[in-house]
Amino acid sequence: MLDLIKKQIARGIFLSLFFICLSLWGGYASAQWQSVSKVSLNQTPPLLLNNLAGETIDIKTFKGKVVIVNFWASWCEPCREEFTELTYLQDKYSAKDLKVFAVNLAEMKPRITQFIKGNGISENAIEILQDRNSIIYKTWKARGIPTTFLLNKQGKIDSVWTGAIENADSDEVSGRIETLLRQ
């Protein structure tokens, strides 16, 4: 019985290390804009949500701009770290017609406000939308947060970024955005 337990422990340690390596590799491999076919979306799903001021925002009205749709929540550590990258992108490219929407997943306004104030983020730095029922998250077929969609000026999803954007200045991140802004 003891031998069996030892074997199981050794196997457990081996498998744990194996899965850690796999997940690290997976994280590295997904740190890029990927084809939208990755999430099986044939067309841009609707996105009609309230912002923190209670105004209804419809991304269909943003045709002509390059749009970033980011799904996040304040309890998600990578999302929190990514937030400054998104505000940076909004600030850097706002004059060039980039609009960033940070779609909050299922949290209530007091929690979001607490997060913004607690991190010294200006309420106008980025447009936060409330997906209180997670319906938009599901229709956009995101499976995990943070997930970021990049839409071209025609309103079509160009690519998707799974996991946190860690360096908004990198060629991988801003290169693709700039290509779309030039189109």
Binding site: G12, F19, R111
Partner: protein
């Protein structure tokens, strides 16, 4: 049934209280030394809301078992005119207190006190009872796939891996034990997982991310068991007392607002429903005394104990999956994978059930006998 404040008080004395007028008196009359009795109170007071709203509070198991009995359920509504009733899901696997406030409501408070008795569970292997077996219908029901618990594809592949070393004539008990060990060995508790996790087994296996909390880890056990043809189910509930076995991480008393915990069961012919809890083995490894090695005697002991035993410092809510909350304006979009936390909606949508401070709700427990 529409309950005003006066009607609710009347209801307390009739519909929900057990034979004696004072439920606590009846508790002591029915108790025996091996049973322990608790009062659990859930209070919901919706913050920052005006007008129409609805709330759903999980209630204890619909049917009593040999380890858990509901002695009384006493709802109390606030001052406003509200509609409140106990609702059971169609398959009777879950029940909840469903409260509706109309558009004139300015306060949104509801409270429910539950008195339950529990006793520890122990799988007795020495005396199988041939009469204990599931009907074909029950077997089919408890091996079914759900939205988050598929039984084919990658789940099937994994369970074949778990059972590869067993002989062809292995019993369900042996198979369940192999699955239990695989889950303990291959999953880990992730302290960053929100609430108790989602229990999306397919996603966990496909992404090779087997980290999570009880609703994830025990769901892996249930999905693998079902895929192997073994009837199995999650049992959603909440910790209501400290552990008498000396594990600080495995109990909670007093303020238990965030103490939700789900467990799992499988069915073995001759033995009935058998308790397991691989998620709590991983919890001990991560949290007990700042973290323990898998070889630590405390881990080895709890690993052995949690295959076939449950310490009943815990209240069972229900077994249900993919629950449509009655009356929800969200329809199919509002289906929840399980009901373990109070839920609520107003015209702006669903409240965040994992944020009791802003929701607001509070759950307390006290030992009463």
């Amino acid at each position: 049934m529409t309950i005003t404040r006066r009607a609710a008080i009347k209801a307390i004395a009739t519909a929900f209280a057990l034979p004696a007028l004072n439920p606590i008196t009846s508790v002591f009359a029915q108790s025996s030394p091996e049973w322990t009795t608790y009062e659990i109170v859930t209070e919901v007071n919706l913050e920052n809301t005006n007008g129409a709203a609805e709330a759903w509070i999980p209630l204890p198991l619909v049917l009593n078992t040999d380890y858990f009995k509901t002695l009384s359920i006493r709802p109390e509504v606030g001052d406003t005119k509200v509609e409140s009733k106990i609702y059971e899901t169609q398959d009777k696997q879950a029940r909840m207190l469903w409260t509706k406030w109309d558009k004139s409501a300015s306060t949104h408070s509801v409270k429910v006190a539950m008195i339950v008795s529990t006793r520890n569970r122990r799988l007795e292997l020495s005396s199988p009872n041939p009469a204990l077996k599931l009907s074909k219908e029950e077997q089919k029901f408890w091996t079914r796939a759900t939205a988050y618990l598929p039984t084919d594809g990658i789940v099937k592949v994994k369970v074949q891996e778990c059972l590869a070393s067993l002989p062809a004539n292995a019993t369900d008990l042996q198979k369940a034990n192999a699955i239990y060990n695989w889950v303990v060995d291959n999953t880990h508790r992730d302290s960053k997982t929100r609430g108790c996790g989602q229990g999306d087994v397919k996603l966990m296996l496909e992404t090779n991310n087997l980290g999570g909390k009880c609703a994830d880890i025990n769901a892996v056990f249930v999905a693998l068991a079902r895929s192997a043809g073994i009837a199995a189910r999650d049992v959603y509930g909440i910790r209501i007392a400290d552990s008498a076995r000396g594990y600080k991480s495995l109990g909670k008393s007093g303020e238990i607002t965030k103490a939700q915990h789900c467990r799992a069961e499988f069915y073995a012919s001759g033995y009935g429903w058998c308790p397991v809890d691989p998620a709590d083995v991983r919890k001990v490894i991560l949290e007990e005394a700042g973290g323990l090695a898998v070889t630590d005697p405390k881990v080895v002991a709890i690993r052995d104990y949690l295959f076939g035993n449950w310490e009943m410092n815990w209240m069972a809510y229900n077994y249900d999956h993919d629950i449509a909350l009655p009356g929800s304006k969200l329809g199919k979009n509002g289906v929840i994978p399980f009901l373990m936390y109070p839920q609520a909606e107003n015209k702006e949508g669903r409240f965040d059930s994992l944020d009791p401070d802003n929701f607001k709700y509070k759950i307390t427990s006290r030992l009463i006998g």
